[in-house]
Each structure stands twice: as C-alpha cells, then as structure tokens.
C-alpha cells in the first residue's frame, strides 16, 4: 500500500474535494453541481424536443383560396355547418371528429353545377360533371337531348327533342307502337326559348277511348 499523503484542495486526489469524492457525492445524490447539471440536461432536452417535435397547431390551410384558418388562444378552431347539411359529432374516441351528410337537408341551390350526362340520338355523349354527382339521362330512339344555354348563370339546361322521321314515308313500323299507330301527329315548336330559331317537331298522339 502506498504511504498516505496530504493533498491540497485543488488536487484531484484530495479525499474530500478530489475527483473520486465528487463522483461519490453525485451518485448518492448530495452533489449540488450534479443536480444542477442534471437539471440543465433536462431543460436542454425539453427545449430541443419542443422546437423539433412538438410544433404548435397552426390551423388549417385552404389551398383553393390560399387562406389560413388559425386557432384561437386556446388552440381551437371551430368547424361550422351553416345549413346543417353536414352533421358534426364526436367520434368513437375523444380525439375523433365525425362528419356525415344529412340526407334530409340538401340545399336546393347548394350544388348549382350538378348535372348530367346526355346521350343523344347518335349515341354521342356530353358530360357535365359537378359536385361529384352525375345524373345521366338517356334518350331513346325517337327522343334526343342536348345541352342548351341556360336562362340563369349557374343553371344547366337540357333541350329535349323528338327525333321524328323526316317524311310520312319514313314513319316507323306500326308494330313499334304499344297502343297501335298514332291517331295523328302534332307539330310543336321546342327549344330553350321560342323567341326564334325554334325547332318544330311532330309528336304522335292518341285519344282516350278512341279506335
């Protein structure tokens, strides 16, 4: 065993102020320096986590209009449904927001562009899509439909026409008619507006109790 020596307080070998004594004090929890260092480390880790990982909620972004919906001082944004066509409710857990469409309240003008696909006599189509819904109207052999200029902006108009033969000789086979051949033909103007340029069509007719 080495002979004991006296060390100055600055010495790393001092029995009270030396490195070994400092380590023991830190491990049994009585070192103020060690506690301060531990607190500094916790503070540093927390600050780093806040900056890098716990980013605050900053609301929603509307890409169409490039607008931001920002949270209030309580970090809350409100989701509203003005006409109640969308029902808001809690989901299965406290962290879920449940949205569903109320089928009883569908706005009359809430979907101005909702229409339609049209198939005309030639079989060609003209699709107008809107709101994700599509109403498809199919015309038959003697009826055609086509898009027309609407009377009001936002509306969609369809013009229906009967595709009658050009001449009596070209009348369809009488067996086609479920109630027998028509008693006669009416000539009617059709179109989006009858101010001019109307199409005159011939419409077959039957009378009740006739024949």
């Amino acid at each position: 065993m080495l002979a004991p020596q006296r060390y100055s307080q600055a010495s790393l070998l001092h029995p009270v102020y030396g490195a070994s004594a400092r380590d023991i004090r830190a491990r049994i929890g009585v070192s103020r320096d060690a506690k301060i260092q531990e607190m500094a480390e916790v503070l540093d880790r927390t600050r780093r986590t806040m900056v890098l990982h716990q980013r605050g909620f900053r609301g929603h972004y509307l890409p169409a209009t490039k607008e931001r919906i920002t949270p209030d001082v309580h970090f809350v944004t409100r989701i509203v449904s003005q006409d109640e066509s969308i029902e808001l409710g809690k989901g299965a857990s406290p962290h879920e927001l449940n949205l569903q469409v109320n089928p009883e309240i569908i706005p009359e003008a809430g979907c101005a562009d909702a229409i339609m696909g049209i198939v005309d006599c030639d079989g060609s189509t003209a699709d107008v899509t809107g709101c994700g819904n599509r109403l498809q109207l199919k015309a038959g052999t003697y009826v055609s439909a086509q898009l027309a200029v609407a009377d009001a902006p936002g509306d969609v108009a369809a013009q229906w026409s009967f595709c009658v033969p050009a001449a009596p000789s070209a009348e369809p086979n009488p067996s086609f008619w479920a109630h027998g051949p028509p008693e006669g033909w009416l000539k009617l103007p059709l179109g989006a507006s009858c101010a001019g340029g109307c199409v005159e069509v011939a419409v077959p007719y039957w009378t009740l109790g006739g024949a």
């Binding site: 065993m1 790393l12 380590d23 986590t49 890098l52 962290h95």
Partner: protein, 373 residues
Amino acid sequence: MSGQVIARYYHGESGQYLEDWTEELSVAEVTFGEHGPLSARVEVPATAEFLHHSRCFPAGVGGFLEIDARSLGVPEVWAGRVKIPQFGGEAAGETFEVVGPEEWLGVIGVPLQGPYTAPSADIVRDALAGSAAQTWVEMSADSPTTYVQIPYEAGGETHWKLMTGLAKQRGEEFYLSAMAGRVGYQLRWSHPLQAPDYSDRLTLVQDENCRLESSAMNLGLPLQDAVGVALSFGAGSEVVGSLVKAPPAARARIGRLHGLTAALSTLTVRRLSGAGATSEAVPAPEVTSQAALDAMVESMVRRDMVMTATVQLADIDVELWPLLRAGALVGARLRDPHRLFANCLIRILTRTFGILPGLGNSISAELWTMEGA
C-alpha cells in the same frame, strides 16, 4: 515500478504534434471517469518557455495534452484539451485544467435527424462519420451491435449528448480510450453486464494493498415501480405511460448486479390514475415512441431499485494499477461499519492517478454484489 511520464502537446485544431512538456511538469494528476479521460491537473513553472502564447495557444487556439504514464503503472493513456490556464500572481507555477473529450464533443452537433432504431454503436458510428467538424473519435471494431434497438430521436443533439443519451435511455455504456502518440480516441460500446471481471486476480484488502477513504450510501426510498409519461403517441391515443415494476424480493435491492439482472414487468398504461405506481409519473417529453419510453423507464428502475452503495479507496499498490481498468469488477474486503463491503465484488467507477510529484491514487467504486472475493 520504474518509468517516467511522457507529456506531449498537440495543436488544438490540426492535432499536429508541437512539443514535449515532460521535462517541465511539476504536478501531474489525471482522472478517468466512466466514459474515459475526464480531467487532469498539471502544473508547470511560470518560467517555462512554452508558456509563451505563440507556443502554448498559437493564434488563440488551445491544444491537446497527452499524458502517458503507462510505464509507471497507469493503465492507459490520458489525453484531453487544455482549457483553463490559471496563474496566481506570485506563484512559482501555473496550473492548467485539462478536460476530456466531453469538452468538444459537447459542442459539435450531429448530422442526424429523426428517430433511429439501429444499435447505439451503429448510430454513433454514422454520426461520427458524417460529422463536419473533427471529433478525433473513431469507433472501435469490437463494439458489439446487438444491444437494444429502440427508436431514438437524434435531431439537434451534440455528439456527447447523443452518446450519453443513448447510453442512459438504453441502459448501456461507452468508453473513450485515448491513443498514444497522436490525438485520437477509440470508442467502445458495451453493456454493464459485460464488465471485465478481474476478481480472480485482484482483491483490494483494506490496509494491505489499499486504504478505505470513505463509504457512502443512499438509503432513500428505492423504486418498486415507475411510470414514465411521454407524448401522446399516434392517432387517437390518450395520455400514454409506461409502468415498470420491480420484483419485491428484499435481497435483490443490494448490489448493482441484482438491479441489472432482475426480471422486471412492463405495462403500457393509457390513463395514469389507478395505474398502481408508488412513484410519481416521470414526464419525458423528449421521448417520442412507446418502445423508447419503456426502455427509459426500465433503465431508470434498474438503476434506482438498488440501494446506491459506494466506496472511495486510496493508496492502492502501484503493482495493482494496471488492473484498475474502466468498469472492471474486482474483489474487496473492507471494514465498513455496515459490513456491505466485507467480502464483495465492487465495480470501479472513476480512477485518479497522481503521477508527479509523487505517486498516489484514488478510485471510486460501487457495490456490485455482496457475494464476492
């Protein structure tokens, strides 16, 4: 044991060898901590030529000091950065406080971002390889990579915080060994249960080959269980915590070995009220995954479920110094009043060697297990 100390001085930026301080040292003491070279105190005469600023800190840049006293029995090379020279007016000499790698590794940021699930050695190896600044550290080839693989958030950290954070969260440890003849360190990663066992070669017996300077314990309430609370993980989750429970066996509370090998049970708790914990919930906002939280709480319980029992030993025979290795297990027969260290294994924590003007030493150690030497 005969021999001499060698003190080499290197440039603080380039690492280039500058000159030899050996002849001028009047005091030299070095401390090795649990992670490698920790601090050193050297004193040189105020008249030493190399104290001129153009040689001691050229252009305001300090330097690295290597102290190699292996020929005197010090088990490894000590190297660190000269940080604070202090001169006291009328004093005959100037004292230098020299610090270990923590000094610069605690400043250099790591080039990593995001959670990493690789073994710690691999994460640190990548960080060192990608570092824009010189770290002077290279990973040792014998660092096993089979330890815990849990997510670890590495973004925005320094190298030192990355290494100490990984070690603490995963219950592992690392050691930096200075290399002789140049500025450089070998980093080795390991687990405490892999501590080198020298108990068959070295038993420290009080008043025969060492002196018991002091012993100290912490008898505060040991942890039986612990709850850690981190972030609200994932979508739809509530507050999530990890509850770790220690076994109730009384004897398992003495000796670090029992804490490391105890079978713990881990639960995930969604609501903290009624979780059954006897300790307060530990907030851990820096932990961002459930697996990392589990590992952190388990590591904490293993550390704190066992009573802390430490000793400070001094004046160990110089012939035994080469066995005083970092984290080594050695036998001990000491006359402490509680008979904890009467016949036991202790684990070496820190080692301080006085090289000049005379030889002296002091170590701190913790009780590993009472069944021992």
